[in-house]
């Protein structure tokens, strides 16, 4: 790989963490046959929930934090619990203590303590054409597809290495060629509600690590957040196009591509396939964390049809603090608005057995990551059922 003089200097004479970071980027670059590093405008690292990374992750992060400092604006994924409400959630103190140490290690490295999977909702958004090193699969899909920024699906340590160096190996979704679609996906229905999640789940299963070019429906930015999160869960997709909607759809070459069709029946069977519970103990909303608009809409729905089972709503600290009224309404009806964490990376398994959710990503991961049975349906339907 060709290195600039500054990059060479980091590799030869940088701090321990800078040298290690350069070595990680060289390893990732070798795997991908990348020929150089491209400068990035921001990084987003994953690997923050103690539930997922455990003692080995904590040990690495604390060691690394002794000399690692990020050199570009860097945000970080959700933790395993809400740092302000963990006691009320029945989280074991040892878990909370180790979780707080992970948070501190990231802060020591200069990472913004966002603890969010929606860095694109936290004020500064990447511009069209910006190169990034983002590690959260749903955020990667959003940044590439909806914003036209450029990032591969980075692993946690690789994104952290890129944050330290300020550059990432140039291959895949950083290149024009890597952003071309590999398959046309026609949708034979007018989607609403969880249909966007279902389209993502079905398409991800069928296209694997391909790059789908969707055709046949309209969607808002909010809809595409749910579609992309589901797509990146069941498939290894880092990007999609939607004809007439996403910014790079017009540049996409679709001539001669294989075409597949998703029918309303496909969506119905996917919904059934991801529902194995019968009675929910909890309604879980998030995954990805909710935007201000989504939080306010949920508060209105809950106010109209208050559920008799607990509702946990996951959002970022920023959105929670900015919406005290919506938070108040949800809490008044017995729900909780949790920040710093998200649905499937938080500790649920110590209290619940079945979770109802309208999130495709949540429905996909809850069984394996939280040992939960799932009821996957629209929020309105769930609220009426548990009124």
């Amino acid at each position: 790989m060709r290195l600039t003089r500054a990059q060479r200097h980091l590799l030869d004479e940088g701090t321990d963490a800078q040298r290690k970071a350069m070595e990680i980027l060289l390893t990732v670059g070798r795997l991908a046959d990348a020929s150089r590093l491209v400068p990035i405008t921001s990084a987003h690292v994953s690997g923050a929930s103690f539930k997922l990374i455990g003692e080995p992750g904590l040990e690495f992060l604390e060691d690394f934090a002794s000399s690692a400092r990020v050199s570009v604006p860097t945000s970080v994924n959700p933790l395993g619990t809400d740092l302000a409400q963990w006691q009320a959630l029945g989280i074991p103190p040892e878990f909370a203590e180790k979780q707080a140490r992970i948070a501190r290690a990231y802060e020591t490295m200069g990472v913004r303590p966002t603890f969010s999977c929606t860095p694109y909702l936290l004020g500064v958004r990447p511009a069209f054409g910006d190169h990034l090193a983002w590690a959260e699969s749903s955020a990667v899909c959003f940044a590439n597809s909806v914003l036209g920024a450029r990032t591969n699906r980075e692993g946690g340590p690789a994104a952290l290495a890129a944050a330290i160096v300020g550059a990432t190996p140039e291959y895949g979704l950083h290149t024009d060629e890597g952003r071309q679609p590999t398959v046309i996906v026609k949708i034979r229905t007018k989607p609403r509600g969880i249909d966007y999640s279902l389209i993502g789940l079905v398409a991800g299963e069928r296209v694997g690590d391909g790059l789908p070019f969707f055709r046949g429906f309209r969607a808002t930015e909010g809809d595409l957040k749910w579609l992309g999160a589901a797509l990146a869960s069941s498939g290894a997709c880092g990007m999609f196009h939607l004809e007439g909607v996403t910014p790079e759809g017009r540049r996409a070459r679709v001539k001669g591509l294989k075409s597949i069709t998703i029918t309303p029946d496909d969506l119905t069977s996917a919904k059934r396939a991801h529902t194995d519970g019968t009675e929910a103990d909890l309604i879980g909303l998030g995954s990805p964390q909710l935007s201000t608009e989504e939080l306010q809409a949920i508060a209105r729905l809950i106010d109209r049809t208050p559920p008799r089972i607990p509702v946990w709503v996951f959002t970022s600290r920023l959105v929670r603090d900015g919406n005290p009224e919506a938070v108040g309404i949800i809490e008044r009806h017995g729900g909780r608005v949790l920040a710093d964490t998200c649905l499937e990376v938080t500790l649920l398994e110590h209290r619940f057995g079945t979770v109802a959710t309208p999130s495709g990503k949540g429905a996909y991961y809850l069984p394996s990551l939280c040992k939960q049975k799932v009821i996957f349906d629209d929020l309105e339907t769930l609220l009426e059922r548990y009124a």
Binding site: K20, T27, V28, S46, L52, P56, F60
Partner: protein
């Protein structure tokens, strides 16, 4: 014998190999406190990684594997090198964090637990000082979706009576593809075959001998075969029928190297 490999994490190591024929995850696959293998599917459960070179086809499972490998390295309990068929980012990043030399593009199917092995990830090579390497070519001939197999005569030096594809030894520095085409002409009499692709080398082990097989795929314009003395019988079969025949070692993998794993 010494073969080429792709260096992933630079460095050099020399020790005894331990092999997992199955994909491996450092999460659940190894006990972090002792550095011994915990996953029974590897066939080497209980073996310690320390002081050994760990070979497995590819990584699998949780991304936390990178941190586990870091922790093993920090405690001095990790392997001295890692050899893969195809490196994945989780293991490669973990090996980088731990400073463990790593190579890939090595057919680990030819390695055995207990082999003495030298890994040079900086230069990109793997050496087995106690094993003699013999370079051979294998030509997979394809006609209308079927491939040609031949049964080896009693007059050939090795694997008499077994089913094989057209093959032959590489002599000196000759071009393997050229050798493959010469063998096809000699052993089948077929003319006008069309080269389609070359596969990554397959390592077929026979005791202290390693056959380093360069696989090639050719399209045959006809099915009319005239055998020479090396073979006594031939058949055109679908690739998935291979397992019904007593073949030379790893023929299925050689076919898969040019036709894909469905074969």
């Amino acid at each position: 014998m010494k073969i080429r490999a792709r260096g992933i994490v630079p460095g050099r190591a020399s020790s005894m190999a331990i092999l997992s024929p199955a994909p491996f995850s450092f999460v659940g696959g190894v006990d972090l406190a002792t550095g011994s293998i915990a996953d029974a599917a590897t066939g080497i459960a209980g073996e310690r990684l320390q002081g050994r070179i760990l070979a497995f086809p590819t990584g699998k499972g949780s991304t936390v594997g990178s941190y586990v490998l870091y922790g093993l390295g920090k405690r001095g309990l990790g392997p001295t090198a890692i050899v893969n068929r195809r490196a994945d980012a989780v293991v490669a990043v973990g090996a980088t964090l731990a400073g463990i030399p790593m190579v890939d593009r090595v057919d680990v199917g030819g390695l055995r637990t207990g082999d003495r092995i030298v890994v040079d990830a900086s230069r990109g090579s793997v050496e087995l000082p106690d094993v003699k390497g013999k370079r051979v070519v294998t030509a997979i001939l394809r006609n209308r979706g079927q491939i040609l197999i031949v049964r080896r005569s009693e007059k050939v030096g090795t694997f008499q009576g077994r089913w094989s594809a057209i093959s032959g030894h590489i002599e000196g520095r000759e071009d393997p593809k050229h050798r493959a085409m010469v063998e096809v002409r000699e052993e089948t009499g077929l003319q006008g075959i069309g080269f389609r692709s070359a596969g990554d080398p397959v390592l077929a082990r026979d005791g202290a001998t390693m056959y380093i097989v360069d696989p090639f795929l050719f399209d045959a314009p006809s099915r009319r075969v005239h055998l020479d003395w090396e073979n006594v019988e031939h058949r055109w079969i679908r690739p998935e029928e291979l397992d019904r025949f007593a073949t030379v070692p790893r023929l299925t993998d050689v076919v898969a190297a040019v036709l894909g794993p469905s074969a």
